[in-house]
């Protein structure tokens, strides 16, 4: 069973008074008893009897009084005192007067019952079980009722002839009285035995500490009870023997107060142990040490100390929760400090009988645990502070109101402007540069006035490097501050780099957007020079396009002196050694560190404009060096890191813009040529129709009308006119057929490319070998283009090649159609010359195809057209297998 008690304070004032009164009463009673013995006529050995009586009575009463002053033992104290007083009753046997004598005889055995009571109630004074209460009640009844019954029939003549008379005698029946005495003695012996058994069982079940404490009591008490029973049994036989038995029993019963006194002395020793404990605790002990000290102080090796955890549970040194489960039989005592529970003692229940000790030890343990807890808090706080300080790679200064350095904290003294020993005692005004010192002291004043943190940023030169630092100043006393100095140069640099990158990306995006939106190249050139100058933080940037010979044209220009000799549109020479010259030769970025070594008009002009040096990157279009982007620096200007890389990115965009513009121009020119060719074709058709068929039809119309007018008057003339008209009509039809054939050959539309090529070959005025591999029809635009390529090429062979024969090849392979016309003529045709070839190229390229003309002089001419074969369905381009 586990129960928790609070240690409480000891004696109160009332107990003290009662104890004093008992002591006085005990002394008086003892004195009375000694007097009775002294004046007795029948006492056999008055001196020995007086001494024994005084010893027994005073020992019991004294011990009882001592116990009375300690609250948990007060009841037991009273019992002891009662035993003391009861021991005096036997003295009344020696009284000369009949009244005290009769009372003494009636009450002579009460001391036996009291002894049984005291023995079973040791040491609390309370009976614990019903059995104990039964035994004690029976003992009282036995010694009072049976004794009284025996006395009223006992003439008491067997003791002494001089005995006073038995005033309680009703009827003198000695045999009955003796029987009753023997019955009383037998019952007493049985009760004594029962009490001894109970004490023995109790002692066996007790904790070691309790057993150690109770053993003398149990042994002494048992002997006393046995002797007393023996005395009772002998009394009817020999009153002297009975008295001796009683006397010896009382002497043995002295073990009771003796054992109790020993316990008290041990309590004193434990108090001393508490003193030692406090000394130990003051010296500072670890947890196991504290528990051992408590065990020593309380003389309880089984004691366990539990600490209160933040969640309210109690855990011992091994981490076990003892608040919910403690070993059987043990009890727990809460340990409080300043009203707050801080821990728990799990200990032997016998310690409950020594609450003052428990209280003292608990208080000491409370103090120790609280102190342990405070120490832990402080240790954690210190750890946190240390960690914080270690984590802040900053300088710390303590500075007085007038700016004198009082203290300095730094892990690396090289970060200081002066060594720490020189710094302490120096003034901020003498250490920091004037502007920084001024700002710093202003900040210090502000912090001291407002009591709040203030901060200031300034720049310092440390080891030749410019550093940006921030000082945060907080008041640390009425006339001093603590300043934490943080170097944020690296952070600022990385932020600046990030910003630069972001600006570069934004500038590139801006230019790229222009390029993507097909803005005029001039606009792109201008934007590039402007963005490059702005990004590099310089005033002048130039974009030059290389021209034929050693010349370049300024096509982009940004700068304050944009109207100078390098104005937009101006043509400038490419001078040997200049950046543009190097780039044109190497195609790699180039720079000029100084224009001083150069002679000539351009160098003079550059110098007169204040340009000191240049960095230039090439602009490449379709693999050719197209021009250069130049960053021009004046005196005092410097370029950021990776200037060339940054400029290169812009140069690539320029290249892209130029290539895109060129492609666009070529496309537009091609479209224009197609439109023009188409217009020319239409004009040719109109002319052909006008000059040919139309004129013939007009003539026909006039002739028919004339014939009509001649039919009646001159029928023969009319017949001639009609015959002529008929011929005219036939020729007109032929002419129209040929014209239609020229516009679009019907055979191509109706039968496809292969038969159309056969017709072309057949009509050619020279032998044409035909090799056509077209398993199926091609899309119409491809067929038409392939046809005109062959038609035009054969026409050129006839007109210009002076060839003996030609060969036509056509095939449809994969996703391309290929047509070739080769001749064995003179060659030397200009691939770009002549409107015929140019028109063919436009037509082929309009279908994303490619026209190749290979015409080495003297080795014939080869015209080859490759045409992608696609079948347009919706938006997707589906390949025709």
């Amino acid at each position: 069973m586990t129960e928790t008690i609070f240690a409480r304070a000891g004696p109160d004032e009332r107990a003290r008074t009662a104890a004093a009164a008992l002591l006085v009463f005990g002394a008086a009673a003892t004195a009375g008893a000694v007097y009775i013995i002294a004046v007795s006529r029948i006492a056999p050995s008055p001196v020995a009897q007086s001494l024994l009586t005084a010893l027994v009575c005073l020992t019991f009463v004294g011990t009882g009084v001592a116990a009375l002053r300690l609250r948990p033992y007060a009841r037991f104290g009273l019992l002891l005192a009662a035993v003391g007083f009861a021991s005096l009753i036997s003295v009344l046997h020696e009284a000369n007067d009949a009244v005290p004598y009769t009372l003494g005889v009636l009450a002579s055995n009460i001391v036996f019952a009291l002894l049984v009571h005291a023995l079973l109630a040791y040491p609390s004074g309370r009976l614990r079980t019903a059995g104990e209460r039964l035994v004690v009640g029976a003992a009282y009844l036995n010694v009072v009722v049976l004794q009284a019954l025996a006395v009223v029939f006992d003439p008491l003549t067997r003791y002494h002839s001089a005995h006073p008379r038995n005033l309680a005698l009703i009827d003198s029946q000695a045999a009955l009285a003796t029987g009753l005495y023997e019955l009383e003695a037998a019952i007493a012996a049985a009760l004594a035995l029962a009490a001894i058994v109970m004490v023995a069982r109790w002692a066996r079940a007790a904790t070691p500490a309790a057993r150690r404490q109770q053993m003398p009591v149990a042994v002494g008490g048992a002997i006393a009870l046995v002797l007393f029973s023996l005395g009772l049994a002998l009394t009817p036989v020999s009153s002297r023997a009975g008295l001796i038995g009683f006397g010896l029993a009382l002497v043995a019963a002295l073990a009771l107060p003796g054992a109790f006194l020993t316990t008290l002395v041990q309590g004193r020793l434990s108090s001393a142990a508490v003193g030692e404990l406090l000394v130990e605790l003051r010296e500072g002990g670890e947890a196991p040490g504290l528990e051992d000290a408590l065990r020593r102080a309380l003389r309880d090796p089984s004691l366990r100390l539990a600490r209160r955890t933040p969640d309210g549970s109690y855990r011992d040194g091994a981490g076990r929760d003892v608040s919910t489960r403690a070993p059987d039989g043990s009890v727990s005592t809460l340990i409080a400090h300043q009203g707050e529970p801080v821990g728990m003692l799990v200990h032997d229940p016998s310690l409950r009988l020594r609450p003052e000790l428990l209280e003292a030890v608990s208080a000491a343990a409370g103090f120790a645990l609280a102190s342990e807890r405070s120490l832990e808090t402080v240790r954690r706080f210190e750890e946190r502070n240390s960690a914080l300080l270690a984590a802040i790679p900053d300088l710390m200064f303590r500075v007085s109101r007038n700016g004198t350095y009082l203290d300095v904290g730094v892990d690396d003294p090289s970060r200081l402007l002066r060594p720490p020993e020189e710094l302490i005692g120096a003034n901020v005004r003498d250490v920091l540069p004037p502007h920084a010192a001024y700002a710093w002291l202003g900040c210090l004043e502000h912090a001291l006035e407002t009591g709040e943190m203030s901060s200031v940023e300034y720049e310092l030169e440390i080891d030749g490097r410019r550093r940006c630092v921030e000082s945060r100043i907080v008041p640390s006393g009425p006339d001093e501050v603590v300043s934490i100095v943080r170097d944020f140069t690296d952070k600022r640099d990385s932020e600046a780099e990030l910003r630069r990158l972001a600006e570069e990306q934004a500038a590139l995006r801006k230019v790229a957007t222009l390029v993507a939106s097909d803005a005029p190249p001039e606009q792109v050139f201008q934007a590039v020079t402007e963005e490059v100058a702005r990004l590099l933080g310089i005033r002048d940037a130039v974009l030059e396009r290389f021209e034929e010979g050693d010349w370049a044209t300024v096509v982009g220009r940004f700068g304050e002196r944009a109207e100078d000799g390098f104005a937009l549109g101006s043509v400038i020479p490419i001078v040997e050694g200049f950046a543009a010259w190097k780039i044109r030769r190497t195609g790699a970025p180039a720079n000029v560190d100084s224009y001083e070594p150069f002679d000539g008009e351009l160098a003079d002009r550059v110098r007169s404009l204040g340009f000191r040096s240049t960095v230039a990157v090439p602009i490449t279009v379709a693999g050719h060096i197209w021009g250069t982007l130049i960053a021009a620096l004046t005196e005092g200007e410097s370029l950021p890191p990776e200037t060339e890389r940054r400029m290169q990115a812009f140069a690539e965009l320029v290249g892209l813009a130029v290539a895109s513009a060129q492609a666009r121009e070529e496309l537009e020119a091609s479209r224009m040529r197609i439109v023009e060719a188409s217009d020319a074709e239409r004009r040719r058709l109109e002319r052909n129709l006008h000059d040919g068929a139309q004129q013939r039809l007009v003539a026909l119309s006039v002739g028919l009308r004339l014939a009509q007018s001649k039919i009646r008057d001159a029928p023969e003339v009319a017949a001639e006119l009609l015959a002529s008209a008929s011929e005219e009509l036939a020729e007109t039809l032929t002419e129209l057929r040929e014209l239609a054939q020229g516009i679009h050959p019907a055979v191509l539309t109706e039968q496809g490319l292969a038969p159309a090529l056969e017709v072309l070959a057949a009509r050619a005025p020279l032998p044409v070998e035909l090799d056509v591999r077209l398993p199926r029809r091609l899309p119409e635009p491809v067929e038409a283009t392939a046809y005109y390529v062959v038609s035009e090429a054969l026409a050129n062979v006839v007109k210009h090649a002076d060839a003996c024969s030609a060969r036509v090849y056509a095939e449809h392979a994969d996703v391309h159609a290929l047509v070739e016309v080769a001749d064995d003529g003179v060659g030397g045709a200009d691939p770009n010359g002549g409107s015929g070839l140019c028109g063919l190229r436009d037509r082929v390229e309009a279908l994303d195809g490619r026209l190749v003309v290979d015409s080495p002089p003297g080795h014939g001419t080869l015209v080859r057209a490759e045409l992608p074969v696609r079948n347009r369905v919706g938006d997707g381009a589906v390949l025709v297998p």
Binding site: D691, Q694, V698, A699, V702, R705, L706
Partner: protein, 130 residues
């Protein structure tokens, strides 16, 4: 009716002197045959603008049948030069295109009128003549 008209004309006055200007020989031949059959006197033919101006000053025709589309000068310019020298000269413009193809240029040319080649006849010309 046309015959009567022509006969009346033939009776009352001599045949009109006509210069035919056209770069197509077949048309010039047809025009000569047609006009002569209708009582006109084709005094000459010219195949281009310059020849037309020269022949007009040499032959002094009453009427110039002038094709608008000529290889050197166009018909309007030839008309302007002819009229500059002989303001009373009667000029009738012809073309295988219709009148609308030339907009207001025909009216501004100083010519008496315009006839499409397919509609050419003596009667058509007479309508414009005084």
């Amino acid at each position: 009716m046309k015959v009567e008209h022509r006969q009346i004309l033939e009776r009352v006055r001599p045949a009109r002197r006509v210069l035919v200007v056209d770069d197509h020989a077949s048309f010039r031949s047809c025009a000569r045959t047609l006009l002569e059959s209708e009582g006109f006197d084709v005094v000459g033919e010219a195949a281009d603008g310059e020849s037309a101006v020269t022949l007009a000053s040499e032959l002094e025709p009453e009427l110039v049948l002038l094709d608008i589309q000529l290889p050197d000068l166009d018909g309007f310019e030839v008309a302007a030069r002819l009229l500059a020298r002989e303001p009373t000269l009667s000029i009738v413009l012809v073309s295988s295109r219709d009148e609308a193809a030339y907009g207001s240029r025909i009216q501004a040319s100083g010519a008496l009128g315009f006839v499409t080649k397919g509609d050419l006849s003596g009667v058509a010309l007479e309508r414009f003549l005084p």
